[in-house]
Structure formats: structure tokens, C-alpha cells
């Protein structure tokens, strides 16, 4: 009864709102800082760099950003930055750097090296990043095999390195910075009692997908391999094609907070040294917290970020990269990304697939012309249609004009609105087709086609001609092989639609002039984007028309390679009057 009365009173009287939110992420002092002390911000980096040498300032930044490291690392000072001869101190440092025991990924394994007398040691690795097989083999050698192999009473790092470690790549390091970097990348660090150095053994063994067929650059002929997320596998895929000692791979790193390795590949006897230097300069100068994909890296190194056109060549095909390297270009591969960037690039190179080279020249040329025509269709067709229908009806033959007018009679929207709605719907189908899980993804095309095509026309929302124009434009845009360039064309198309509907062909001319001026002014790593046509330079017989392969005897001039000559005047040694049976005749 008392409870009932209480409940009634609760209903009748005012009750303060119950605070139900369990957690609020409140603002704190860090939010007021534009660039934190973590060193991710360019300003703090510059300030640090300006006051001190690069080494100590970077070490300080690294020390500050690790959880739980403030006390021990700073109090330890220079002693903790270097490997100590006291094993326990090294262990404490590692635990402090990695935030153990909170951080469960890091494994520290104590053991005894089986020498006489036994030596205390521990190893550090990250679970999942290192190969268990390698680790087991490593420990088996150090704990069991060492007894038979080594009778050396002093088990120092060098003696272990030279006599006990079976790993193919092992080095001695004394700096925790470098050791931690290596462990973060899947290596195993071995600390030995009494040794001022740690041994770092290559045990990388994380999970990754195997080499598969290209997904965005499919081709019928030619190699069917694509890059994967493993940097070393990717460099090997290129090196497998270019078996030359002149193929150089330089390793750089980007990202101040989370570092990623970047491989810069080039032919040392072909690539212009200034180009290589510029590529390395741009990559090295990037001051940002992390970069996880070549798409991000591309945006940091391109010449004109405001221009729509892609200024680096984005490819997933090792054979394409190899072909570009053989022209004297430079490839950039980032760890964790299944795409490579090739610089410099031109718009014409972005309209090539590589398949044309594998096909006979007539077929290749036919493909190129089809693609060039598609490029213009994808860019201009909707704009030209609108211009013709709205402003220049006299140029449309009477029968066709009557057909268009008849179909449009019951459509309630203006032509431009109709076109924009249809284009938007098409983009919607395209985007939805990409995002929907693959088992039902294929149905979206059918549904989209039904809704946009038949149903929309029957409902008098769109005229059939608009559907045809948008469909042809869409097909044409799919034939552009470079994904980024296709994006640029799709975006430009809307400008042409607007200009064509406002000012007819004069509007198209205005848009064309602007686009051409901006594009001719564009450069990719110092090379004009529309080379070798504007400016006109030697193209090597491979721009739109692809000459027979034996006529392509020189490399494109716009790259300024160290060696222009690809082959002698007549590369087919067997042709009569050419010394017959030329070449070194080497057999595989």
C-alpha cells in the first residue's frame, strides 16, 4: 500500500530527469592543441628539428607517444635508449615501450641458451606478425642445438649471430628505436645477458592473401598476376619480370607515428637521375602521422592537387610496372597496398592497358581507337545532346527530331533535369553495385536496368533517348582503363552538361577551352601531362596508333631516359639483309 502510494506520488509530482548516458567523451586539453607533442604535426616537427639534431628529437618524440613510457624512458635517459648489458633492464625497457602487461600482442619469451655455461636470454615478437615455424626453429637451435655446436663459454651477440642463428637475415642492433621498428614489422629481437646488442632475426610471417588475378585491370591476354598487400612479394613480382641487376629498389619510410615502408624501384641505367632524386625528395619530405595506401601517398606527392586529372599512374599489374620501368619511369610501392604508383605519367599512358602490346598491332590499334572514341563519348555525349536538343535543333535530321520530340511529349521534366536525374541514377546504380555484397551485387545491374530503363520510360519519367544517351555514356566511361581518369571524366561530364544546357555549343566550347588549358598546363613530375602530343615530342610509335612492335625502336622522349634507344633499326635479326640470326641466341 505504501509502495502504491509512493508510485502515485511519483506520477503526480515533478521528478528530475534521470541521467542515462553512461559515458560521454569530454573535451580535454588535447583538443586545444593544433599540433600535439606527439610529433605528428608538421609544426612541432619543424620546431624540434630546428632546435636539435634529428636523432635525439625523434627519440624524444617516440618516447613521449608510447603509453606508459613517460616515467621509465625519460628517467632512464640515454641508458634506456641503448641496449644494456643487464638483461633485466632490457626487459623492463621493452615492457615499458610496449605497455606490458596491458598490451597482449607482445610476447616475451624467457629461455636459456644451451651453451656451457648456460646464458640467460629472452626474445620479443608480436603474436600473429611472426612465423611460429621460424620461431620454433630458432628456439630449438638456441636451446638444444647450441649444446652440441658451441662450447664457447662466452655467449655474446656476435658469437650467437655467427655460430648459432639459422635465420637467413639477422643483424645486431643496439638502439631500441631500430629494434622496436623491426619487431613491429614482424621480426624477432633476441636479448642476451651481458651483451650490449640485441639480435634481430627476420621472422615475418603474417597472414596475407596469395597472388591473384587483377580485379580492376583485367585483360584477356598477357600475365594474369596482380600485386598483393605484401611489399616484398610485390617487389619480387616486378623483379621476376625484370631479371636485371640494374633494377634498383630503394627503401624509404613514410609516416611519423606509424611508419610504412616505401619501395622506390627504377632501372639505374635508364631512369633519369633527376627524376629518381625528385621522387625520393617528395616521399622523404612527407610529414604526416601515417599513410596506409598508395592512394594516400599519391595525394601527397602529386604536382597539382586541385586538378581533377590523376597525375600518377595507379596500377595493380606487375607487368605494367615492368613495362614502365623499362621506359625509364619510376615505380613506388607501399607496404600494405596492392597497387603501385608509376611516375611520371601522361593522359595517353592512362588510356593504355598494356594488353594492346600483347596483341598484334592491328588489334591493339583498333582497341586504342575504340577507347579514344569512348573517351570523347564519355566526356561529351550528354552535353552535346543537350546542346543540340535545346539550342541547335536545325542540325538534327527531321525524322530524328520528330522522334525525340514525340518521346519527350509526355515527360514532365525539362531535358536538362531529365538528364541530370538519369545521370544521378546511373551513378547510384554504379555505386550501389560496388557496395552491395557480391552474392546479390550482380542482381543490382538487372534491377537498375529495369528500373531506369523500362519502368522509368513506361512511367513517362524519362524519354527513351535520354536512357540510350546515358547508357552509352556509362558504357563508354567503363571502357576507360584507369580508375582515377574515369572518375575525372565522370566529374567533367557534369560541367559539360551544365554548359551545354546553358549556352549550347558555345558553352561546350567554353568548357573545352577551360579543360584543355588546365590540362595542358598540368605536369606530372616535371613532364607535361599531354605529352607527347602537347608538347609534341618523339612518342615511340605508341600513343593512339600502335605501330608494329619491331618499329618501336626508341623510348618516349618526354621521360628523358639515360638511353633513348630500345632496339636497333631492325630488331628482328632473322630478317634478310640484317645479318640473319642476330641476337645472342640465348635460350631459356
Amino acid at each position: 500500500m505504501k509502495n502504491l502510494l509512493k508510485q502515485v506520488m511519483r506520477i503526480l509530482t515533478y521528478q528530475d530527469t534521470t541521467f542515462r548516458e553512461g559515458f560521454i567523451l569530454k573535451e580535454n586539453d588535447f583538443d586545444n592543441k593544433k599540433t600535439g607533442a606527439s610529433g605528428a604535426g608538421p609544426k612541432s616537427q619543424e620546431e624540434d628539428g630546428g632546435k636539435k639534431s634529428a636523432g635525439p628529437s625523434r627519440r624524444r618524440a617516440r618516447t613521449l607517444r608510447r603509453p606508459g613510457s613517460e616515467g621509465s624512458m625519460e628517467s632512464g635517459g640515454a641508458d634506456t635508449a641503448k641496449v644494456s648489458t643487464i638483461l633485466d633492464r632490457n626487459r623492463e625497457t621493452i615492457e615499458s615501450i610496449y605497455g606490458l602487461p596491458v598490451n597482449k600482442d607482445i610476447i616475451i619469451r624467457d629461455y636459456t641458451i644451451g651453451t656451457e655455461p648456460p646464458v640467460k636470454s629472452f626474445l620479443v615478437y608480436i603474436d600473429g606478425m611472426s612465423s611460429r615455424t621460424d620461431l620454433n626453429f630458432l628456439m630449438q637451435n638456441l636451446m638444444l642445438e647450441a649444446r652440441e655446436i658451441s662450447r664457447d663459454p662466452i655467449a655474446s651477440a656476435p658469437s650467437i649471430l655467427y655460430r648459432l642463428l639459422p635465420g637467413s637475415q639477422a643483424i645486431m642492433l643496439d638502439s631500441f628505436d631500430k629494434i622496436v621498428d623491426a619487431v613491429n614489422y614482424g621480426d624477432t629481437a633476441i636479448f642476451v645477458q651481458g651483451s650490449p646488442q640485441a639480435l634481430v632475426v627476420e621472422t615475418k610471417g603474417w597472414e596475407h592473401r596469395p597472388v591473384e588475378k587483377p580485379r580492376s585491370e583485367q585483360a584477356i591476354s598477357g600475365p594474369q598476376e596482380s600485386f598483393i598487400e605484401n611489399l616484398r612479394a610485390n617487389t619480387a613480382l616486378v623483379r621476376k619480370i625484370i631479371r636485371s641487376e640494374k633494377l634498383y629498389t630503394e627503401m624509404l619510410s613514410v609516416g611519423k607515428r606509424y611508419r610504412s615502408d616505401v619501395a622506390v624501384m627504377y632501372m639505374s641505367d635508364l631512369a633519369n637521375p633527376d627524376l629518381v632524386k625528385e621522387v625520393k625528395r617528395r616521399i622523404s619530405s612527407i610529414n604526416v602521422d601515417y599513410i596506409t595506401d598508395t592512394g594516400m601517398l599519391e595525394q601527397y606527392i602529386e604536382d597539382s592537387p586541385m586538378n581533377l586529372n590523376p597525375q600518377t599512374h595507379y596500377t595493380e599489374r606487375p607487368d605494367r610496372v615492368a613495362a614502365f620501368l623499362a621506359e625509364g619511369k619510376v615505380a613506388i610501392i607501399l607496404s600494405g597496398s596492392p597497387y603501385a604508383l608509376v611516375v611520371p605519367t601522361t593522359m595517353y599512358a592512362q588510356l593504355h592497358t598494356g594488353e594492346e602490346t600483347y596483341l598484334r598491332w592491328q588489334y591493339g590499334t583498333f582497341l586504342r581507337y575504340t577507347r579514344t572514341f569512348s573517351f570523347y563519348l564519355a566526356l561529351l555525349l550528354p552535353g552535346l545532346y543537350l546542346a543540340a536538343v535545346l539550342f541547335h535543333q536545325e542540325m538534327i535530321p527531321t525524322d530524328l527530331l520528330l522522334a525525340i520530340a514525340g518521346n519527350r511529349e509526355r515527360v514532365p521534366f525539362p531535358t536538362v533535369v531529365e538528364m541530370l536525374m538519369m545521370e544521378f541514377s546511373f551513378e547510384l546504380v554504379r555505386e550501389a553495385g560496388l557496395r552491395i555484397p557480391s552474392p546479390i551485387g550482380s542482381t543490382i545491374g538487372i534491377v537498375g536496368a529495369l528500373i531506369l530503363g523500362q519502368a522509368a520510360v513506361q512511367a513517362n519519367l524519362f524519354s527513351p533517348v535520354i536512357v540510350i544517351v546515358v547508357a552509352v555514356t556509362g558504357l563508354a566511361s567503363f571502357s576507360i582503363p584507369n580508375y582515377s581518369l574515369a572518375f575525372a571524366v565522370r566529374t567533367y561530364r557534369f560541367f559539360y552538361i551544365i554548359m551545354g544546357s546553358m549556352l549550347g555549343f558555345y558553352g561546350i566550347t567554353i568548357a573545352l577551352f577551360i579543360q584543355i588549358m588546365l590540362t595542358t598546363n598540368l605536369k606530372s613530375f616535371g613532364v607535361p601531362y599531354l605529352s607527347p602530343i602537347a608538347p609534341r615530342t618523339y612518342a615511340g610509335g605508341d600513343v593512339v596508333t600502335r605501330l608494329p612492335i619491331h618499329m618501336q625502336i626508341r623510348r618516349p622522349d618526354y621521360i628523358n631516359p639515360q638511353d633513348n634507344v630500345r632496339a636497333p633499326e631492325e630488331p628482328r635479326g632473322w630478317v634478310k639483309g640484317n645479318g640473319g640470326g642476330g641476337g645472342d641466341g640465348r635460350q631459356e
Binding site: 543540340a388 539550342f391 541547335h392 536545325e394 542540325m395 535530321p397 549556352l503 549550347g504 555549343f505 558555345y506 561546350i508 566550347t509 567554353i510 573545352l512 577551352f513 577551360i514 584543355i516 588549358m517 588546365l518 595542358t520 598546363n521 607535361p528 599531354l530 602530343i533 602537347a534 608538347p535 609534341r536
Partner: protein, 366 residues
């Protein structure tokens, strides 16, 4: 900015050719037919000879002064005051050409395609594009011209050949048209008055030296006059000189006559893209030349701050003629007659003074 961008022979030739071709799309061919009758094409050939002489005149001026354009040479030879006056006249000549071409091209667009569009709107388009093009620079302009040239060329060839069923070769007779005086002297001088040679002498720093100036400009003149001669021949043989002299826009009229079967007829709208592009290049190049001339005269490091004010002057100048006939009359009478002053008379003075000063010894201050 001038001279920092260099480009090759092909780009430079095409740029000047395209600029020179702009006049064939407006009423200039009509003026020539009116002057010379069926022999207008011979006047064009005479004009070509005169233009080559002009190229040689400028070459004589530029040759002893490598690395300098006509603006620097005028300043150096004539002194600061006279040099500034000469260069300002050059700059205003370019502005006048830009203003008249903006107006006549806009009028042509209204006649051919956009009858309901206000002319100020169309002219604003030309002016804004000219500012953009001049701001981006000469190198991009030359490359753009080079890139689009095959399309322009194929369009013109298509037009001329498309009219072949209508050609009547009898129309070229009498071969000397309105008489030798009109054909060779009046017609020759009208067609030989070109802006592009002076313009080339202003942008010569981008040409890799005076030798290239001669090669580039003479080839551009040959090509430009070739197109003019061809167009005049087709115009006379297709329309006859009587009808031709009544057409305000003969190129447009010819384009309307193209009939390539039932499906391909009335294709004149497609030519709007070609002539619009050429008109934009012409206005852009003349705006750029006037900005460079003024920047050189007043020793400014950068021409770009001058672009907006000069563009405004062009816009104002282009809107001054009351209507299209006034603009055409102004273009035909004023510019074609006055053109000889900045393109021949003044350069001759510069040449003479520079030669005299050179003979007088190295005592000029520059």
C-alpha cells in the same frame, strides 16, 4: 613572366596560325570580296607577300638584339619617353583588336546559334576565358592550340570539301576582278595588315631566338594566308562574288550550305565549336600581348596584375559599337587601315633609330 616559358616551332606556328585564322570566320572575307571581286583570293596572295616583308622587317629589328622583344628594343632605341609612347600604342592596338574581335565573334554567335542571349553575357564568356588563358600562360595556350589544331583543320577541310558539289569554277572570272589597283594594292594592303607579326615580336622571348622568330612567323603567315586564300576561292566559286559581298558571315553561310546526304545537313552548328575556340585563342593572345607589352614598358616583373583591368577595358571597348554593322564597319575601316601604323610604320622608325644609334657608337644608355 614573359620568356620564362619556351615552346617549340610547331606549337608557336600553330598558335600564330590559329590566331591569324580568326579573321576568316568573321566579315573580313566579305570586305575583301567587296574590294577585289572574284579576284579576292589574289589579293590574299598579295597580302601574303606583304606579310612576309613585314616578318623580315621585324627580323631586322630583332636580329641584333637577341633575348629582347620589340618592347625592350623600343625602350632602348627610342629612350624612355618615346619608347613608352610607342609601347603604349602597341598595347592599345592589341586591346582594340581584342575588343573588336570579342564583339564580332559574339555577334556571330548571336546570329548563328544564340539569338536570345544578351551580347554582354557572350562577351563576358570571351573575356573571362581570355583572362584565364593569359593567367595560365603562353605555354599552355600554345599547347592547347597545337592539341586542337587537327580538329580545327579537319573541320575546315570537311567544310571546304563538303561544298565541292556547289563549286562553279567559272565564278573566278574575270581573273583580275575589280581591276589590278583594287586587287593588288587596296586588297593586298587590307589583307596584308596582320596583328600576329607584331604579336610574335612581343612574345619572341619564348621562341629560342630571332632566327626562330623568322621561321615561325613566316610559316604561320604562309599557313594563315593559305587558309584565307582557300576560303576565298571556295566562297567565290560557291556563292559567286556578287552574293559573297552581301554576306556578313560568309563562313557561316558556307557552313549552312553543306549537304552530305539527308542525314548530314545543316551542320553549321558544329562549326561554332571551331570558330568559338579560335575566337577565344585570338582574344586571349591579344590580351596577353597587351599585358606583356605594358608590363615590359613599365618594367613590371609580372603581367598578371594587369589582366583584370585590361580585360575590363576590352569589355568596355567591345560594348561601345552601337550594333553589329557599326562593329563591322569599325573593324573594316578603322583597324584595317590603322593596323599599318603599329605593324609597319612604327617598327620602321624603331629600326631606323636603332641603326642610327648603333652607327653613332655605344653611347646610348639603354
Amino acid at each position: 613572366m614573359d620568356g620564362k616559358s619556351k615552346f617549340g616551332l610547331a606549337e608557336a606556328v600553330v598558335l600564330l596560325t590559329v590566331s591569324n585564322m580568326a579573321r576568316i570566320f568573321i566579315s573580313f572575307p566579305r570586305t575583301l570580296v567587296e574590294m577585289s571581286g572574284p579576284a579576292a583570293w589574289i589579293s590574299s596572295l598579295t597580302g601574303m607577300g606583304l606579310s612576309i616583308l613585314q616578318v623580315y622587317l621585324f627580323y631586322m629589328i630583332l636580329k641584333p638584339n637577341p633575348g629582347q622583344n620589340i618592347v625592350d628594343i623600343a625602350n632602348k632605341s627610342l629612350g624612355n619617353i618615346a619608347g613608352t609612347i610607342f609601347n603604349t600604342i602597341f598595347a592599345f592596338f592589341f586591346l582594340a583588336v581584342a575588343a573588336l574581335f570579342t564583339r564580332t565573334f559574339s555577334e556571330a554567335l548571336i546570329i548563328s546559334a544564340l539569338p536570345a542571349t544578351p551580347i554582354s553575357f557572350l562577351m563576358s564568356g570571351f573575356i573571362m576565358l581570355a583572362v584565364l588563358g593569359s593567367y595560365i600562360g603562353l605555354e599552355a595556350m600554345a599547347r592547347s592550340a597545337r592539341l586542337t589544331y587537327p580538329f580545327v583543320l579537319s573541320g575546315i577541310v570537311l567544310l571546304l570539301l563538303g561544298l565541292s558539289p556547289l563549286w562553279d569554277l567559272q565564278q573566278v572570272f574575270p581573273i583580275l576582278g575589280n581591276g589590278p589597283v583594287n586587287v593588288f594594292i587596296a586588297g593586298g594592303f587590307i589583307s596584308g595588315a596582320v596583328t600576329e607579326i607584331l604579336l610574335a615580336a612581343v612574345i619572341v622571348k619564348s621562341f629560342h631566338g630571332p632566327e626562330m622568330f623568322f621561321k615561325i612567323t613566316s610559316r604561320a603567315m604562309l599557313m594563315g594566308f593559305f587558309y584565307l586564300t582557300m576560303l576565298l576561292l571556295v566562297m567565290v566559286t560557291t556563292l559567286s562574288w556578287n552574293t559573297g559581298q552581301e554576306d556578313t558571315l560568309p563562313f557561316y553561310t558556307l557552313a549552312r550550305l553543306v549537304y552530305l546526304g539527308r542525314f548530314f545537313q545543316r551542320v553549321e552548328s558544329i562549326f561554332i565549336i571551331i570558330w568559338g575556340f579560335i575566337g577565344i585563342i585570338k582574344v586571349t593572345l591579344t590580351l596577353y600581348a597587351s599585358a606583356i607589352t605594358l608590363a615590359g614598358t613599365f618594367r613590371l616583373q609580372d603581367h598578371r596584375p594587369l589582366l583584370w583591368p585590361l580585360a575590363l577595358i576590352i569589355f568596355t571597348g567591345s560594348i561601345l559599337p552601337h550594333d553589329m554593322p557599326a562593329a563591322v564597319r569599325l573593324e573594316a575601316l578603322l583597324i584595317r587601315e590603322v593596323t599599318w601604323l603599329p605593324t609597319v610604320a612604327m617598327p620602321v622608325v624603331i629600326l631606323l633609330v636603332s641603326r642610327l644609334r648603333k652607327r653613332g657608337g655605344p653611347n646610348e644608355s639603354g
